[in-house]
């Protein structure tokens, strides 16, 4: 080309080095909060620094966390699933029903996962095939799925799960490490790898930032979204297995209100609720923060409803404070 008067400009790969980016990240901020809460807790209660107690405390977030990872991907892609807690109810009901007919642990696990997948597919159908907004669809299926549990169970309860089934929610794999925390960790790693290290994860980010642009770039947008709903359903199934196993019984009201905790965890983890950005490590730290806060306040016998004020403040505060700080800093500079 006629580029005589102009030297081609060199474009570097990256503007900032890795350390620089990590230090400025949401995850770093959240980690500071987590460490802060941990330290505060150890001062506030003499019972906090005890491995067995901490091990018990993990139940406060493990099941929610499992779903939160799948939900994180879904939210990054610009969708949401508010029916997860109801999927748990339906999957648990199905498992309970099967247990009444003498199903063994492997069958129960299969049933829990299958019902989760089916519910995910049902949501996915409305969102990807009929093109309806997911928040609305899943508000509907939230009532529908739990409603089916009520139809099946009424005012009854299912119990009588096989003894071996108790492992998922009550077992330990090694020393203080529970089966649930192990499942949580495995899922975290899998989702971290899928989101951050694979083509699929890249597609999820692309769709979240610009679904039309992603479609025009040759990404099968609807298929990816379908898979994400399936995954969320599947994770709800896994959580249903763990929760049912932990409770040893099923009622239709199981896991009521859990969807909001899951969304809170995801948002606290730095996932942009509008889609397009966020990371799995962020969600992992957020899970620990929420677990630590609720357990710490529990040790101080703070009533649950007051605890929820803290979670609400945390949710808004963690997002608001840095922005406020930037705003004030900008004001100072211009003044």
């Amino acid at each position: 080309m006629s580029d005589t008067t102009m030297t081609a400009r060199y474009v570097p790969n990256r503007l900032n080095n890795r350390a620089h980016r990590v230090l400025r990240s949401w995850e770093a901020l959240l980690l500071v909060v987590a460490v802060g809460v941990f330290v505060l807790n150890s001062f506030a209660s003499p019972y906090f620094l005890n491995v067995w107690n901490l091990s018990d405390a993990t139940y406060n977030f493990t099941e929610k966390g499992m779903i939160a990872f799948a939900m994180a991907l879904l939210i990054i892609s610009g969708e949401i699933d508010l029916s997860v807690a109801s999927i748990i109810a339906l999957a648990s009901t199905a498992m309970g029903l099967a247990a009444q007919y003498g199903a063994g642990t492997p069958e129960l696990v299969m049933i829990g996962l299958t019902v989760g997948l089916l519910c995910g597919a049902f949501n996915a159908f409305f969102v990807t095939v009929l093109g309806l907004p997911s928040i609305v669809v899943t508000i509907g299926t939230m009532s529908l799925f739990r409603g089916i549990s009520y139809i099946v169970l009424g005012d009854g309860a299912y119990g009588g799960y096989p003894d071996s089934f108790a492992w998922f929610g009550q077992g330990y794999i090694y020393w203080v490490f529970t089966a649930e925390i192990a499942i949580f960790a495995v899922i975290a790693v899998i989702y971290g790898v899928v989101l951050h290290k694979t083509n699929f994860g890249r597609a999820v980010y692309a769709i979240g930032n610009n679904p039309t642009g992603a479609l025009f770039s040759g990404i099968r947008v609807q298929r990816v979204k379908f898979i994400l709903f399936l995954l969320t359903g599947l994770m709800s199934g896994v959580a249903a297995i763990c929760l049912t196993s932990r409770l040893g019984s099923t009622r239709p009201s199981i896991a009521a209100g859990m969807e909001l905790s899951v969304v809170t965890m995801v948002v606290l983890g730095g996932i942009n609720i509008l889609g397009g950005s966020g990371s799995i490590p962020g969600v992992v730290i957020a899970a620990f923060v929420m677990g630590l806060v609720t357990f710490g306040l529990g040790l101080l016998n703070v009533p649950g409803i007051v605890m929820s004020i803290f979670i609400g403040l945390l949710l808004i505060g963690v997002i608001a404070l840095p922005r406020l700080w930037l705003m004030i800093a900008a004001k100072k500079r211009s003044a």
Binding site: S2, R9, V11, L15, T198, Y205, G213, F216, S217, G218
Partner: protein, 506 residues
């Protein structure tokens, strides 16, 4: 002479910085009553930013705006309108769910005694405005039911609904067809006669020399020259703008056309297009000309798997291929550079390198796992080939100027090593320097054996670049022109559906 008159509006040492970009650096701009000032500059020179500052959308970081010599500040768009400045913006700033009249008057609707909106008065005023600019549709119609050209007329009517002394037009002709452009020129003349000061932004030089009285040139956010149009010629203006000379001639090509690559037989869609038949040869540049709304983009998008055709067959290298999605199209070597860069072309929010590698991840990755090193390698290769200007490859593509975004989109598709590349209005809204580069590049691609389909509404580009031209009208192929048959007259005639005899009479 007018030079001694006080400008109606003058911008003095205006500076505006965005995170990472100095969009305007102490620029100066004066607009005079009854004169058209053309603002020219490369993509990203800061033209639209200037418009947004003048209309109260952005607040400048430094400098003064004066109206009749008095310093003013605009808190928001209404303040600027109250001061008599109105604009037709580069982006469409209209509301699909509101009626035409409401679109025109939103923010300054006539009120009844009770402070409620006076719908009747508003519709009357809207009717009159629309009538004055030659629009024929009902002001009560919902905007979403209008075509793109009519929407543009609504935007014009909105700008005129303010009793303004200054009218700004940011690339007003980019979406218009020949006839509508002529009407717009007439409107500019009328406004001039009414003594309004006009700021006109365009990348089309014929246009500038036809209607402007003065020019102001920006380069990289700074002022590089200003003066009377009558005292400058095209080459000098381009040199000011780009900072170097640009051969404004289309690249010379020796078509070494070979076998058929793509054959389209009987493509049809229930409402958008019908009976599309043509073949594309290896190494050829095939132009698609037509008026805006002729259905070219619709057809191209169906070839790319976005909209599904109701019938028709597509053969690639002689064998029939079914294309149900863009992913299928890419797999079959067909790629599409869309017209709407912001929405369809780039993925704003992702860094440049990820935009470029998005459709090529299959090659840069290993069994589904990303390999960043390979990605950067690929992105670097193609961004260097296209002379991309950016701070770094991991910068958000949204921070690039329009022209550089277009380069990212083209790089993204070239990296997939396609057989057929469809470029939909590839130089729309692109400055003359980059435009020449794109033309050069297209020629290079064709020479390397890539087949190019170029959709364009610019006659010089169509004639200068294409080996063959297909003209579309109302969703059908009207003519296929080649060699000597390829002239501006024949193109316009077929595109508008005027028979040869009528044309001669006219």
């Amino acid at each position: 002479m007018t030079d001694h008159a006080t400008p109606v509006v003058s911008m003095d040492a205006i500076t505006k910085t965005f995170p990472g970009v100095k969009a305007l650096d102490a620029v100066q701009l004066d607009l005079y009553a009854g004169q058209v000032t053309a603002l020219v500059g490369e993509n990203g020179a800061g033209k639209s930013t200037t418009v947004k500052i003048l209309t109260g959308i952005y607040f400048p970081d430094g400098g003064t705006i004066r109206i009749d010599g008095e310093p003013v500040t605009f808190a928001n768009a209404n303040a600027a309108a109250d001061a008599g400045i109105t604009a037709i913006h580069q982006e469409t700033v209209l509301f699909d769910e509101l009626s035409v009249a409401e679109n025109i008057f939103i923010g300054h609707a006539p009120r009844t005694r009770w402070g409620l909106i006076d719908k009747a008065a508003m519709q009357r005023a809207a009717s009159k405005l629309l009538h004055d600019i030659g629009a024929t549709f009902d002001p009560r119609a919902l905007l979403r039911n209008l075509g793109i050209a009519n929407k543009h007329l609504v935007a014009v009517a909105r700008a005129l609904s303010v009793d303004a002394r200054v009218v700004i037009m940011d690339e007003p002709t980019a979406a218009l067809s020949h006839k509508e452009i002529e009407e717009l020129y007439e409107l500019v003349e009328t406004l001039k006669k009414q003594g309004k000061a006009i700021l006109f932004i365009s990348h089309k030089f014929d246009e500038i020399f036809r209607i402007a009285d003065r020019y102001t040139v920006f380069r990289d956010g700074g002022l590089v020259g200003t003066g009377l149009i009558s005292e400058i010629n095209e080459d000098a203006l381009i040199q000011l703008m780009v900072g170097r000379t640009v051969d404004h001639i289309f690249p010379q090509r020796t078509p070494n056309v070979a076998e058929d690559v793509l054959q389209v037989v009987g493509y049809a869609h229930p409402t958008e297009f019908a009976d599309i038949n043509f073949t594309l040869k290896r190494g050829e540049i095939l132009g698609f000309y037509g008026l805006v709304g002729a259905g070219r983009s619709e057809f191209m998008q169906s070839l790319f798997g976005i909209t599904k055709p109701s019938k028709g067959v597509c053969k690639i290298n002689g064998s029939i291929r079914v294309i149900r999605s863009p992913a299928d199209a890419v797999a079959n070597g067909i790629v599409y550079v869309p017209e709407d860069r912001g929405k369809q072309g780039t993925i704003i929010g992702l860094p440049i390198f990820q935009n470029i590698t998005l459709p090529s991840l299959g090659r840069t990755s290993k069994s589904g796992f990303l390999r960043l090193v390979e990605e950067f390698k690929l992105a670097r290769e193609y961004s260097e080939r296209l002379d991309l200007r950016a701070a770094s490859l991991d910068q958000d593509v949204g921070n690039l100027s329009g022209g550089n975004q277009q380069k990212v989109v083209i790089a993204k598709w070239l990296a997939t090593q396609p057989q057929v590349i469809i470029l939909d209005e590839p130089t729309k809204g692109i400055d003359i320097g980059s435009k020449a580069a794109v033309h050069e590049f297209m020629a290079e691609l064709a020479a390397q054996g890539l087949s190019v389909i170029m959709v364009s509404s610019e006659i010089p580009e169509v004639i200068g670049m294409s080996d063959r031209v297909i003209v579309m009208r109302d969703g059908r192929i009207e003519a296929e022109l080649e060699g000597d048959a390829l002239s501006p007259e024949t193109l316009v005639r077929h595109a508008a559906g005027i028979s040869a005899t009528l044309m001669e009479e006219a």
